[in-house]
Amino acid sequence: MNRNKTKNLLATVSILVLSASSAFAEMRDWTSKDGKKLQAEFVGTSGAGNSALVKLKLANGNVVNYPVSKLSELDRVFVKSSLPTDPAALAAEIDKLVLNKLKESYYGLRKDLADLASDTELTNAEKIKRKGEIEREMEMCIPNEMTNDEQFMRRIYLDVAGRIPTYAEAARFLDSRDRNKRAALIDELLETDAFAMRMYNFYSDLLRVREGVEMMGNGDLKVDPYIEWIKQSVKDDKPFDQMVRDMLTAEGHIWDNPATGYILSDSGMRLCNVSNTFTIFLGTEITCAQCHDHPFEQVKQIDFYRMASFMGTTETRAGRGGMMMMNGSNDREELARMSKVLMDAGKLRMNETTDRVIQDIMRSRRSMVNETGSQKVALPHDYKYDNGEPYQKVKPAAYFGDTVNLEKHETPRAAFAEWLTSPGNPRFTVNIVNRLWKLAFGLGQIEPVYNIPGHLDGQAQNYELLTFLESMMQDMDFSVKDFLRVVYNSNTYQRESETLTPTLTQVDNGTYHFPGPVLRRMTAEQLWDSMVTLTTDNPEGMVRRGWEDYRELMHTDTTKLTTLAQIEAYRSKFRTIGRGLSDGETMMMERNAGRIGGEKMVRASEMEQPQRAGHFLRMFGQSDKNLIENQFTSGSSPQVMALLNGSITNKVLTDPEAYLIKEIIYGDGRKGDKVDKIFLSVLGRMPTSDEARRASSGMRPKKDRDMSDRDRQAMEVAAIGDVIWALVNTREFLFVQ
């Protein structure tokens, strides 16, 4: 979808409203769902989504409001283009549904409380306990205050850009007098590279994007094209359903078709891949059914194998054909030949006969998604139910949703992709909507997000809201960007965070109704990227180097490389893929590129995926990318020690080259109070007077004859370091308020 579609539509809608009387001033026949007919003039609409109303002017001049949902299909299509798609109206609908639920829940609880007194089954002590619980829940049914600009700003930056605002960004937003500045900021941030980086972190946790997919048997396959494809899909706002179809149907090598990265991630583990696909895209856990009928869901073991059979003709290794070189020699011979040239020139390690880099190249060539036409999935050796025999092959079939017509598609896999992403699939849209809701609010409408029940009513926190979000996503043709734009524009999102933790009972019974977002600890990436923001004026300035030469290298006919120089150049070029950074113009391979205070301060999405164990990012919960949604935000002593004593808080942030120190505090032409600047940079707010007093003590050493200017400056720098250190160590910094 065009990224400006919503904006354009917004403009269109306002024109429509103005000109409605002239453009639509004609009588037409209207038909309701149950066949009733009516002649009326179309005057406009109100509301949005499920509760949208159409305004119809009857012949007698009366205007009636009629629910759009009760119109015939034809009339709904007629009205649809006039329905508001502007974020504000849709956001208002979210707010209405949330408030309804909060109110309903509040009255219900009040009744529970009243009934408690006459309860004869509970002891007094139990009643007191229950009373406390109910009162706590009632408190959480009252919508929170709206955020102030400082709170909103910090949250929206963290949620959309994935990091805190820079000092300049913060000052600009807070100084702005534009009444619509919140909506404008949301629009602006959604168009930044920072948003693509943030969403990449979300997707890579879900899809398990990792480099050097060793455990899955891909050797050192370089996955740069896949990484960039995900980021580019976010930038292009590729419809989510399209993105999923691309991944599920991709064929070929990763350098020719980056979307193959998804299926290659589970290379050699076909059955796991099927389970993972269900978890990621349908929020459904079917792994159990690999070994036995699922104990709770209506999924039988045979269903699992029927589903798996959709992927049964897909291979992640090239067949013999794929290995052949242009002149007919094969990879093995080429490896031996080139290794020998290197060995003869003494370029291999002692006692080595095979060059490891060239071996990686040859292995990479074998990694490709291809269709063989031969079904590899069969029931397991110990299959014990009556409806099949061990080793029996089963016909691909879906156990819920639309019936799949295999004839209509070229491969079973294509049929599967179509079924999975079709609007008729009851879980596909709900899954992504629920996951995005969780991204914005810290808690899904359905928890856990990977276990969406077959029937949503009564399971979701707010069934009406969830179905509204579902239809909204479909109306938006799966534009994740537009969907998030609406969510972020809602009052529900812009309220203060909840100060209490939703209890597990609340989460479980679906009785947390979002008086505001849940208070969340920053993700590891948000935390790291915020540290990066404190060290540079352009946190998105350094990005991964492109991979243009990868394709060319892999398409090279190696049999033409005969001299030592040619072979050496070839292998060293391959080694640089996936390494180095770029500032948009120049490529940097040096070790110190992007380094400040000895650490590589570059956004998490532009670094190795994932970081090595023990890195700050991993310590704070970056996923190891082995499992779906494997990031964590729980605390540990090593984290606290890293913040108390580690290099980031003690060296990097206070490095003379760090943005905060160099530009903001000591930069030319920067006026204003140092303490204010530090607070705004780190916490996105101004200090209270008490805080300002405490912070500045020691920062302005008294004039002392015995003290040189240099010493005074050193004292000031140390005091500034103390304040930065202290602020970064607060819970306020670590959490998204």
């Binding site: 398990r208 060793e214 455990m215 583990m269 796991c272 891949n273 389970s275 993972n276 978890t279 792994t287 159990c288 036995h292 009928d293 104990p295 002692m350 006692n351 080595e352 006969t353 139910y385 856990p448 965070s497 909840e498 100060t499 209490l500 933790t501 597990l504 989460v507 479980d508 019974n509 208070l519 969340r520 164990a613 919960g621 082995n626 499992l627 779906i628 494997n630 964590f632 729980s634 605390g635 540990s636 002593s637 090593p638 606290v640 020690m641 890293a642 004593n645 580690g646 003690n650 060296k651 008490d690 405490r694 912070a695 103390d722 202290a726 607060t730 819970r731 306020e732 959490f735 308020q737």
Partner: protein, 444 residues
């Protein structure tokens, strides 16, 4: 749903689906243990349960069996490794391990280990977890298993520590990060970031903490969520740890007679790892893993064995002596494991390649009867000849020594059942039971 499946999942059906999901979705707990019906096996009767601690030496890369615990001198596969008498009739070990040969009365070797994969990561994963790698779950390693089944051993110290580990350690797996072993990269440097950085004095640190607390006061007063309190608690605990004697235990240099001991254990990664492991065990930590590389000997195995094998011999020998001197040997199980053995045939580079069909491991202390060899490889060290032992049996043996219940079912958050030494369905009772069987012969 079929009745046997219900039973199979140990009466999970008594919980509604939602309750079940909630129970297993509590990421904070990460794990739920449901009681199983029927009495569990009594390990004490079989000589197990004597080990309060375990030091697990993991030889990363695939330790050659023929050049260490299962020499084949004089055969076509024996290479240049000679056999060394152990004092036990009929048992010799490789000449690179003279210290262990001299202490063989305390050592039991297993010469019939076997597993299925020749890739490092898959093999290492299986040895650490009893399960083969899957793309849908990460299984826990033994330290976190022990903590889950027995409870936390020490109030303030972590339950398990991995010294010198790489990035691929399965850690606590689905038990969640709270149970993850504390990683120590370099034994000499101790816990990362545990000391004040250069240039920051105690006074300055105190001042910073004061500032932090005053800046954070409003936020903490307003947000009383569990997560915020948990972090504040982590700060308190960490500050206590920094000031406590607990941290002292991680400082290798504080070991009495450090220089002398460094000579005994060897100034090597494995030597220092062993010495630190002893310190940690002494102060109450239950499970310490020492990882040591250099075993992927594709090239020049004789030279490699001299350094790597020699270092291991010194480290293990000194550890046994030291634990005995401190009175810890009987309650500390020493285990040595690796992902696979190496090919009997010596390759063109005078090295040996990956060989999962048969390999060796070693046990000592913690109730193990020394002076014996369990199982047998064939004449050339190609395959198992008697009493095959797979990674599940290997871990069952560790579990047995520690007194863990091999049949305790633990459910992952996704609801799947797992056991400490792998699981299978028992045909008679149709329950999930342990697949790994402990080597009871090793225990007195």
């Amino acid at each position: 749903m079929k009745q046997e499946l219900k039973d199979n999942l140990n009466k999970l059906d008594e919980l509604s689906r939602r309750q079940f999901v909630a129970r297993t979705a509590k990421t904070a707990l990460g794990v739920s243990i449901l009681p199983i019906a029927g009495a569990s096996s009594k390990v004490l009767a079989a000589g197990g349960g004597k080990a309060e601690h375990c030091i697990f030496f993991y030889m990363s890369g695939g330790m050659t069996h023929i050049d260490t615990f299962d020499p084949k001198p004089g055969t076509e596969t024996g290479g240049n490794t000679k056999g060394l008498s152990t004092g036990v009739a009929g048992i010799e070990i490789g000449h690179h391990l003279p210290g262990l040969a001299a202490r063989f009365k305390d050592i039991a070797v297993v010469r019939s280990m076997t597993q299925k994969t020749g890739d490092h990561r898959g093999g290492s994963y299986w040895m650490h977890t009893s399960y083969q790698p899957r793309a849908t779950i990460v299984h826990p390693s033994m330290g976190p298993w022990a903590q889950t089944l027995l409870g936390k051993k020490h109030e303030t110290l972590p339950d398990s520590v991995v010294i010198g580990g790489g990035g691929n350690h399965p850690g606590a797996g689905f038990f969640g990060p709270a149970l993850a072993p504390l990683p120590i990269g370099d034994a000499e440097r101790g816990v990362q970031n545990s000391e004040l950085p250069n240039g920051v004095s105690e006074d300055q640190f105190e001042k910073r903490l004061d500032l932090m607390n005053s800046f954070d006061e409003g936020f903490r007063r307003k947000f009383k969520t569990d997560e915020v309190s948990a972090y504040s608690q982590f700060y308190d605990e960490t500050l206590n740890l920094m000031n406590s004697e607990d941290l002292e235990t991680f400082k290798l240099g504080n070991e009495p007679d450090y220089q002398k001991k460094l000579q005994d254990y060897g100034n090597t990664r494995v030597g220092k790892g062993a010495m630190l492991a002893k310190r940690l065990v002494k102060s109450g930590i239950r499970f310490v893993e020492v990882q040591s590389g250099g075993w992927d000997m594709h090239n020049g195995i004789d030279n490699a064995m001299q350094t790597t094998g020699g270092a291991l011999d010194k480290a293990l020998s000194s550890l046994i002596d030291d634990l005995k001197a401190e009175g810890l040997f009987e309650k500390t199980l020493i285990v040595l494991g690796t992902e696979f053995g190496r090919t009997p045939k010596i390759n063109a580079n005078a090295g040996r390649d990956h060989h999962p069909r048969v390999f060796s491991t070693m046990f000592a202390g913690g109730g193990v009867n020394g002076g014996q060899a369990y199982g047998k490889s064939d004449k050339l060290g190609m395959a198992v000849e008697e009493d095959p032992v797979d990674p599940r049996d290997f871990n069952a043996t560790i579990a047995h020594a520690l007194g863990l219940d091999l049949n305790k079912v633990v459910y992952a958050p996704s609801g799947r059942p797992f056991l400490v030494a792998g699981h299978k369905r028992d045909r008679e009772t149709d329950r999930v039971v342990t697949e790994g069987k402990p080597l009871l012969q090793l225990f007195s």
